[in-house]
């Protein structure tokens, strides 16, 4: 940590004295461009590394910022007012394109943004009266401070790098905030993130907007620096260059953005002098794309996290700064003798929390769930059992909004929620776990639970970027630790979640779901894969959760466990409801014995 600070200080000092060192030997303008491009690549790195999405439209957002600033200042607007317009305009356009595309999972954004880049290029070249067409616009007024004009390489060098460092600081704060954790969670599993009330498309859309805003800022600086703008720098080929810079430096680390940009820009300068000598004077600089292509392929195949980790190892910095274990004070959750501190939980006893009416789900020719109707009352433990393929997990997916029913209605405390997306249903107080645990492997155990607290904490985007969520984070840490203590895995708080053994994964999922403050908790086969002592602990945990006022619904294969913990049981077979009642009633029901339990299993259960 201290070493990282020392290197940062050294780097800053080098930046300050650089113009004086290279005076007369090298043009400073290349360093202005490294600064400008780094601003764009910073956004791209954030988008690729933290939101898991790639945009090939960054050159268009860069161009959008450039032309907004050029056109408005040429019509008399003050450049300092045009600058935020450029940032905001680019960000807004990106958000309008991105937010809907992000609803489609997978990598549609790449082609959507590439398409946008081509469309933008065509418009810039053809809207003559506005953009000046292929020849562009000249005489763009420079930035100024009072009456004195900011002009020349050195002034823009300091301005650009100053803004870059500010942008870097904002992005760094963001990725260390609750928003950053939510993004890692989304990258790891959208379904799990949504089950905690996080809307994946919203956050990815915000990240695209942020990256486009940075590109717009670079564009505005560019036009005031050169006082001239033409369409060629904003073609999609430059978007590809920007991606190469980002991947080269390393998309998972912000310093990689500056490093990759520096390497590629320098390399291009070298190639432009070397290539013509090597291939004859006729060889244009366009040949550099072969080198860039091969470089990109080699880096991606051999070292997908770019060159920054290697550099960091060389400088002996890196490693994550984790909160010291002693610093975490676990706050007690569900204090004995009372319900939870959250007043929302005080649901009147016997109130119907969940009502499922005539629910049906068809997958092609398969009727997975057929006419399912039941209701769950506040404070009870309600279990669904049935053989494999009975439709139990499908029922959970229908209730939590992961799947849409073919027919039928789900009501939460009287309100119809059938057509709400999963994150909205989660926000209404439905927590869940998954049959195959979906923990966020790249986060620590503690951070996983902190993602669960996401909706109950408030530091929003700009707040988080200014680093103002830290005090809240400390509170979140102690609350998250409390949930870990509740399920009994506090000693593993700082381990990476991916390294946990299976039983602990299940407990972590329960802790995470509870942290979101559910009124109804859906547990999908919580006991499967657990040892018998773990099962006993699980039963105690379920009882404790239930006593604290959370209604629990579970799907399970372990009949003995269900008989021991459930207040009421629903038996499903091939999507059909076979029986419903207390454990004693269900056990005595001949249809159940015939369909599912069988003589021996029934004896085992009793």
């Amino acid at each position: 940590m201290r070493r990282a600070r020392a290197w940062t200080a050294l780097f800053m000092a080098a930046l300050v004295v650089l113009p004086f060192l290279i005076q007369g030997r090298l043009s400073l303008s290349i360093f202005v461009f490294i600064g400008l491009y780094s601003l764009i690549v910073l956004g791209l790195t954030l988008l690729a590394g933290h939101a898991g999405q790639v945009s090939l439209g960054q050159a268009a957002f860069y161009g959008l910022g450039a032309y907004i600033s050029a056109i408005t200042t040429l019509r008399g607007l003050d450049p300092w007012i045009a600058l935020p317009l450029s940032v905001g305009g680019s960000a807004l356009v990106a958000f309008l394109i991105g937010a809907p595309i992000f609803v489609l999972r997978g990598h549609y954004l790449v082609l959507g943004t590439l398409g946008f880049n081509i469309v933008a290029d065509v418009f810039i070249r053809n809207l003559q009266h506005l953009t000046g067409g292929p020849t562009g616009l000249t005489g763009i007024p420079p930035l100024h401070i009072g009456q004195s004009v900011i002009a020349g390489d050195r002034a823009y060098y300091y301005l650009t790098w100053g803004l870059l460092l500010a942008g870097y600081w904002l992005c760094r704060n963001l990725i260390h905030s609750r928003i950053g954790r939510a993004l890692v969670a989304i990258r790891s599993s959208e379904v799990a993130a949504a089950s905690l009330g996080i809307n994946p498309a919203y956050y990815k859309g915000r990240m695209l907007a942020l990256s486009a805003g940075l590109a717009g800022l670079a564009g505005a600086l560019y036009v005031h620096y050169l006082s001239f703008v033409s369409p060629s720098p904003f073609a999609f080929t430059f978007s590809i260059d920007l991606l190469v810079m980002s991947v080269l430096g390393g998309i998972y680390h912000l310093p990689g953005a500056v490093l990759g940009t520096g390497i590629l820009t320098a390399l291009r300068e070298v190639l432009r002098t070397v290539m013509p000598r090597l291939l004859g004077t006729g060889a244009s600089a366009e040949y550099e794309i072969i080198v860039f292509g091969l470089l990109l392929a080699v880096v991606v195949i051999l070292s997908p996290s770019g060159v920054w980790p290697g550099v960091a190892a060389l400088l002996r910095i890196g490693g994550r700064d984790e909160p010291a274990k002693s610093a975490i004070i676990a706050r007690e959750i569900f204090p004995a003798g009372g319900t939870t501190s959250d007043p929302q939980h005080e649901t009147a006893a016997q109130e119907v929390v969940l009502e499922v009416d005539q629910l049906q789900k068809r997958f092609g020719g398969l009727l997975a769930v057929h006419n399912l109707s039941f209701s769950v009352r506040a404070g009870e433990v309600y279990a669904i059992i049935g053989p494999n393929g009975a439709g139990k997990t499908t029922a959970f997916n229908l209730i939590s909004g992961v799947l849409r029913p073919t027919r039928g209605v789900v009501r939460l405390r009287g309100a119809v929620v059938t057509h709400l997306p999963p994150y909205r249903i989660a926000a209404l107080g439905v927590g869940r776990t998954f049959q195959t645990p979906k923990v966020f492997g790249d986060l620590t155990v503690l951070e996983n639970v902190m993602v669960g607290l996401h909706r109950r904490t408030g530091a929003e985007f700009f707040w988080a970027m200014l680093g103002l969520g830290r005090r809240e984070d400390v509170r979140s840490q102690s609350e998250a630790a409390g949930y870990l203590q509740l399920v009994g895995i506090l000693d593993r708080a700082n381990e990476r979640a991916a390294t946990l053994p299976f039983g602990a994964l299940r407990l972590l999922e329960i802790a995470r779901a509870l942290a979101a403050g559910p009124r109804l908790l859906l547990l999908d086969e919580p006991a499967s894969g657990l040892t018998s002592s773990e099962r006993a602990a699980l039963v105690r945990l379920i009882r404790r959760v239930c006593e604290a006022g959370v209604t629990v619904m579970l799907v399970e294969h372990d009949v003995a466990m269900v008989m021991g913990v459930a207040d009421r049981i629903l038996v499903l077979n091939y999507g059909e409801q076979v029986a419903e009642g207390t454990p004693a009633e269900v056990r005595a029901d001949p249809r159940v014995i015939a369909a599912y339990l069988g003589e021996t299993t029934a004896e085992e259960a009793s």
Binding site: A48, G52, Q53, V54, L56, I97, P100, I101, F102, V103, L104, R105, G106, H107, Y108, V110, L111, G112, L114, G115, F116, I118, V119, V122, F123, R125, N126, S189, E190, V191, A194, I240, L243, V244, V247, S284, E286, Y287, E288, I289, I290, V291, F292, G293, L294, L296, A297, V300, I301, P304, T393, N397, G401, V402, L403, R404, P421, F434, Q435, T436
Partner: protein, 298 residues
């Protein structure tokens, strides 16, 4: 020319372009369904095939041999790319695979530039003669060749997928790779085959349009992207629907460019792409398709 004649003319040229996009779109679907890769370098197969055919003819090969050799070479290139660049990274995330295809696009485009330079090339039309009148539009003979050869290629492809064991294995890999592996299908080999088919279809598209337009080293990306538009309309899954979508897309593009302004041709084409993505997103929101994919993987 009256407006209706003009429209007929635009539709005719749209159908021809759409056929070319369909060849590229089918290649994208073949690659995506078997190896789950969105191939940004798909159009480079067309550029490679076209430029190679030009050179082979310049070396004295007869037209048809040059065309066939170029298509075979493009198929080999496809298979080679799969072996060299995709297979070694098949465990990587979709994002990494996508970036690899961007890298392949750059490297191929650069290599084409190195070998053929920036100048445009042209192939002779496959048969000489005046344009033919189809309904109220005049269509040149090369356009009819484009449609006829593509139709033949589609029939071959259809027979391959439905009548041969290898074609069925390929479809099996697309539906469920794990199950395909369990019944003894070599999934990696099928991936190479899919890439080779995509290469051949791309190369074919390239040699078919070169008599109509010029072939340049950088013609690929835009062509490939236009094939992608058609493929993504129908969800990158169905071969026949991809063909129809690409045809419809070609017609919309030609009508738009003809009736508005040919300067805006690409803007119209990729405006359609963005509109299609937005439309699919809204449809996904309606049926809740978004998350069911991930849930179905359990």
């Amino acid at each position: 020319m009256t407006l209706s004649q003009q429209i007929a003319q635009f539709i005719a040229s749209g159908v021809v372009n759409g056929t070319i996009y369909a060849l590229l779109g089918l290649g994208l679907v073949a690659i995506h369904s078997v190896t789950r890769v969105v191939n940004v370098a798909q159009g480079e197969f067309a550029a490679f095939g076209a430029l190679l055919a030009v050179t082979l003819m310049a070396w004295g090969q007869p037209l048809w041999l040059a065309l066939a050799s170029a298509v075979v070479a493009a198929a080999a290139l496809g298979g080679l790319i799969h072996r060299v660049a995709i297979l070694p990274a098949r465990q990587a995330s979709a994002l990494v695979l996508l970036i690899i295809t961007i890298a392949i696009h750059l490297a191929l485009k650069g290599t084409l530039l190195l070998l053929w330079g920036t100048s445009p090339y042209v192939l002779p039309a496959f048969s000489a003669g005046p344009p033919v009148r189809v309904f109220s539009a005049f269509v040149n003979r090369q356009s009819l060749w484009v449609i006829a050869i593509t139709l033949a290629a589609l029939i071959v492809l259809f027979l391959f997928f439905t009548r041969t064991i290898r074609g069925k294995s390929l479809r099996a890999c697309a539906v469920n790779p794990t199950a395909a592996r369990l019944v003894g299908i070599r999934v990696e080999r099928m991936g190479t085959l899919a890439w080779a088919i995509a290469g051949a279809l791309g190369g074919l598209a390239g040699v078919l349009i070169t008599p109509l337009t010029f072939a340049t080293y950088d013609m690929g990306l835009i062509l490939g992207l236009k094939g992608f538009v058609g493929a993504v309309v129908v969800g990158m899954a169905s071969y026949p629907w991809t063909v129809l979508a690409c045809l419809a897309f070609g017609i919309v593009e030609a009508l738009g460019a003809g009736l508005i302004s040919s300067n805006y041709r690409d803007a119209i084409a990729f405006g359609v792409l963005i509109a299609v993505l937005l439309w699919r997103a809204l449809a996904a929101l309606r049926v809740g398709l978004i998350i069911s994919e991930e849930a179905a993987q359990e």
